[in-house]
C-alpha cells in the first residue's frame, strides 16, 4: 500500500472550539511527514485521533487501512507512538519497561538492542525518574519500537530538549526512515521539519493552509530570490531606472530576481555605474520565512530556535 494515513474532512470540536476544522491529507508509506503549526493549532488533537486515543467529531480517518478509534486493538500492534510530554513509571528502569512491553506485545525483542539503537544502553538499569529529559524521550522512542511498527507517531519529540539531545533524536528519526518506516512528526521547530521531512503540512487554527515538500512550499509560498548589494545609496535609483524592484535593506539594498540570469545583468550594471559597492550575495526564502508569512508570526512557546524567536 502506498498510503499509510488517509484523512478526509476531519473535524474535532471541543464545546464551541473547532480544534480541527475539516482537514484532508495523506501520508505516503516510508516518508517522514511533518505536521507544523503553532501551539494550539490542532497538531496534537489530530495525532491523537490518528493514534486511536481520541474520538473524532466527523470525517474519515484511515491508518494502515483501518479506523483507529474502532480498531485500536489491531492498530496499536502496528503503530509506535511517542506522545507529547511522554511520561513513564518513575521507579521502573528502561530495561524493565522494554521487557514489559515485549511481553505485552508477545514479541521476542532484546531490550539491549533497542536501547543501543537510541543510544541509551548505559542507562538500561537506571530508574526512569533519574534520567534527563532527552533520555526520557529516548525511552519513549525505544518503547514505541518494541512492536516493530509500520508507522511511528512522534508528537513534538524534541520540545524542551537541549541542542545535543535534539540532534540525537533527529538521528533516531533518520534511522527510522532508513528502516523503511513511515514517520509522522509534529513539531513547531522549522529547522527540524526542514531537515527531516519529505513532506510538510502546515496547520493554523485547525485548518491546513499548505502541504508539500519543503522545496515545493518555498517555491510556491516563498518570495522570489533576491540579490543583496551593500554599497552607495545612489545605486538604488540607478537600478530602479532600469526597471528593477529595489528595496532598501539594513545598510544595503535588495533587488528582486525574476530569473537567475538576471543577477549577472544587475551586477554588470552595478559595475559599469562607477558607483562604489562592497559586497553582494543572493538570498532566497527558507521554510521559516514561508511559515511566518503563512501563519503570521504566531507566537510559539518552548525553547530552542522556534519560529518566533528566530524573527528579529
Amino acid at each position: 500500500m502506498s498510503e499509510s494515513v488517509e484523512v478526509e474532512r476531519l473535524v474535532k470540536v471541543y464545546g464551541s472550539l473547532r480544534a480541527v476544522d475539516t482537514i484532508d491529507f495523506t501520508v505516503r508509506s516510508g516518508e517522514v511527514f511533518s505536521f507544523l503549526g503553532p501551539n494550539g493549532a490542532g497538531k496534537s488533537t489530530t495525532v491523537e485521533i490518528l493514534e486511536g486515543l481520541r474520538r473524532r467529531t466527523s470525517g474519515s480517518v484511515r491508518v494502515l487501512g483501518e479506523d483507529p478509534w474502532s480498531s485500536l486493538d489491531r492498530i496499536k500492534r502496528r503503530i509506535g507512538v511517542v506522545p507529547q510530554d511522554f511520561h513513564f513509571f518513575p521507579t521502573i528502569t528502561p530495561r524493565e519497561g522494554l521487557r514489559l512491553y515485549a511481553r505485552l506485545f508477545d514479541r521476542r525483542v532484546d531490550p539491549d538492542e533497542l536501547l543501543a539503537r537510541v543510544e541509551l544502553l548505559d542507562k538500561a538499569d537506571a530508574r526512569y525518574d533519574s534520567l534527563s529529559g532527552g533520555q526520557h524521550q529516548k525511552v519513549g522512542v525505544a518503547l514505541a519500537l518494541v512492536n516493530d511498527p509500520e508507522i511511528c507517531f512522534l508528537d513534538e519529540p524534541t520540545t524542551g530538549l537541549d541542542p545535543r539531545a535534539r540532534r540525537s533524536v533527529w538521528e533516531v528519526i533518520r534511522r527510522l526512515r532508513k528502516e523503511g518506516r513511515t514517520v509522522f512528526l509534529t513539531t513547531h521547530y522549522l529547522d527540524e521539519a526542514q531537515q527531516l521531512s519529505d513532506r510538510i503540512a502546515i496547520i493554523k487554527r485547525g485548518k491546513l493552509i499548505a502541504t508539500g515538500a519543503p522545496d515545493e512550499l518555498i517555491a510556491v509560498f516563498g518570495r522570489p530570490a533576491r540579490l543583496r548589494i551593500v554599497g552607495e545609496a545612489a545605486l538604488a535609483d540607478r537600478l530602479r531606472e532600469r526597471g528593477h524592484a529595489v528595496t532598501p535593506d539594513n545598510g544595503g539594498l535588495e533587488v528582486e530576481l525574476r530569473s537567475k540570469a538576471e543577477a549577472v545583468e544587475i551586477l554588470d550594471a552595478v559595475a559599469s555605474s562607477g558607483l562604489r559597492w562592497q559586497s553582494f550575495s543572493t538570498k532566497s526564502d527558507t521554510l521559516e520565512d514561508v511559515f511566518i508569512r503563512l501563519v503570521g508570526g504566531a507566537r510559539d512557546e518552548g525553547n530552542g530556535p522556534s519560529v518566533a524567536e528566530a524573527r528579529p
Binding site: 493514534e51 481520541r54 474520538r55 507512538v81 510530554d85 518513575p90 514489559l100 512491553y101 506485545f105
Partner: protein, 366 residues
C-alpha cells in the same frame, strides 16, 4: 481479558509499589507499629500494679511492716517507701507526678496492739481513672482483713474470682481485626487515589492503552496486588499480636472473603475518588475526607460497642465497619451467621463502587 497479560503486568505494578517506601510503610509497617503501641498502652493499664508511695511514720514497727507486706502481696499495688522526712505526702506526690499515696501514722503498732482506733490516710488522684479505685480497694481489703483478725472473727462470706467465657476477650483481640481492617482500607485507598489522579495527569493510562494491555487486565492485576497485600498484612498482624501480646485470634477461612472483597471495595472507591478529581491535589483532599472518618469510626481502634449511641449509626454507614465487624466475627467470636451478612454487604458495596468507578475511569478521551 487475557490472564497471561495480567500476570505479565502484575510484577511491574508490584515493583513500582515496592520501590516506593511510603506505600510499603503505610500498608505493612505502620499497622504493625500501631499494634505494638496500642497493645502496649492498653494491656499494661489492666495488669501491672499501681505504684503506691508510702510514708511510714511508725517506722519499722512489726504491725506497719506486716500491713505493708500484706498490701504488696495483693498484687494490685507496689509499695514504694518514702522517707518520713519528706513532710507533707500530698506535696511530695504532686512534685513527683505520683497519683497514689498512703500515710501510716506514728503509734500505729501500739494502737493495733491495744485495739485502739487508728486512722490511715490514702491519697488518690481521681483524674488517674481506675487507679484510684484499685488503690482504695486494696487498702480497704487489707484493712478489713486486719480488723477481722483483731476481732478474732471468722469470715462468713468469701468470694472467688472467675472469668466469663473462654477464652477471655481482651482489647488486643479486637485490635487485631480492627487493624487488619485499617490496612485493608489504607493501602488501596491512598495509593489508588494517587494513581487515579497522577497517572491521569502524567498520561500513564494513555501510555498503557498503546500496548495490548486492557483496562480490565490492568484493574485485575492491581486488585490482585492489593488482595495479596491485605492477606500478608493480616498474617503479619496476627503473628505480631500473638507473639507480643498473646492475642487469641486466628485467620479463619471465613475471614478470607473479607480480605479479598475488602481491598476490591477500596480499590474501586480510591480509583473513583482519583478519577473524578481534576488534579492530584483535589484528589488528595477528597481521598482524606473519605478515608479519615472511616479510619477512626469503623471499629478499627476501638470496638463500636464502646461508642456513644448517637455515633453508632454513623459507623454503620461506613463500608469499613462491615469489613471490621465481619473480621471480628470470623477471627474473635467465631460467629459465622453474622459474618455472612457482613460479607454480603461488602460484596454489594464493592460491586456498586466498581460500576461507578469504571464509569469515570477512562483510558481514552472523547
Amino acid at each position: 481479558m487475557n490472564p497471561r497479560r495480567v500476570l505479565v503486568y502484575f510484577p511491574t505494578f508490584a515493583r513500582g509499589y515496592l520501590r516506593n517506601p511510603l506505600g510499603l510503610f503505610m500498608s505493612l509497617i505502620f499497622p504493625v507499629i500501631l499494634i505494638l503501641i496500642f497493645g502496649a498502652v492498653f494491656s499494661s493499664s489492666g495488669t501491672s500494679p499501681v505504684p503506691l508511695a508510702v510514708e511510714n511514720l511508725d517506722q519499722n514497727s512489726p504491725a506497719s511492716v506486716g500491713f505493708l507486706a500484706a498490701l504488696n502481696a495483693t498484687g494490685a499495688v507496689t509499695v514504694n517507701l518514702v522517707s518520713p522526712t519528706v513532710g507533707n505526702l500530698s506535696d511530695y506526690l504532686a512534685h513527683h507526678s505520683l497519683s497514689a499515696g498512703l500515710v501510716i501514722p506514728a503509734g500505729f503498732d501500739a494502737a493495733v496492739a491495744q485495739h485502739l482506733p487508728v486512722q490511715l490516710t490514702v491519697y488518690t488522684n481521681p483524674a488517674s481513672g481506675g487507679e484510684a479505685g484499685i488503690v482504695l480497694g486494696a487498702v480497704e481489703g487489707v484493712t478489713n482483713g486486719l480488723n477481722l483478725r483483731l476481732a478474732n472473727g471468722t469470715p462468713i462470706v468469701t468470694s472467688v474470682s472467675l472469668t466469663v467465657g473462654s477464652p477471655l476477650y481482651r482489647y488486643i483481640d479486637f485490635l487485631i481485626p480492627g487493624l487488619i481492617g485499617f490496612s485493608v482500607l489504607v493501602s488501596p485507598m491512598f495509593s489508588m487515589v494517587n494513581i487515579g489522579s497522577t497517572w491521569k495527569r502524567d498520561k500513564l493510562f494513555r501510555q498503557l492503552s498503546l500496548t495490548p494491555l486492557t483496562r480490565g487486565e490492568w484493574l485485575t492485576a492491581t486488585l490482585l496486588w492489593y488482595v495479596l497485600l491485605a492477606v500478608v498484612s493480616a498474617g503479619l498482624l496476627v503473628l505480631v499480636g500473638g507473639l507480643a501480646f498473646g492475642a487469641h485470634v486466628t485467620l479463619t477461612l471465613l475471614s478470607l472473603p473479607l480480605l479479598v472483597v475488602g481491598p476490591i471495595l477500596f480499590v474501586a472507591l480510591g480509583l473513583l475518588a482519583g478519577s473524578v478529581s481534576s488534579t492530584p491535589e483535589t484528589a488528595g483532599v477528597i481521598g482524606n475526607i473519605i478515608t479519615f472518618p472511616m479510619m477512626f469510626l469503623s471499629g478499627t481502634f476501638f470496638p463500636v460497642s464502646l461508642f456513644p449511641s448517637w455515633l453508632v449509626p454513623v459507623a454503620k454507614v461506613l463500608p469499613l465497619y462491615y469489613v471490621v465487624d465481619g473480621l471480628n466475627g470470623a477471627m474473635v467470636y467465631d460467629n459465622p451467621s453474622a459474618v455472612y451478612s457482613d460479607i454480603l454487604i461488602v460484596v454489594i458495596l464493592a460491586v456498586g463502587l466498581a460500576v461507578a468507578a469504571t464509569r469515570f475511569f477512562r483510558w481514552r478521551e472523547d
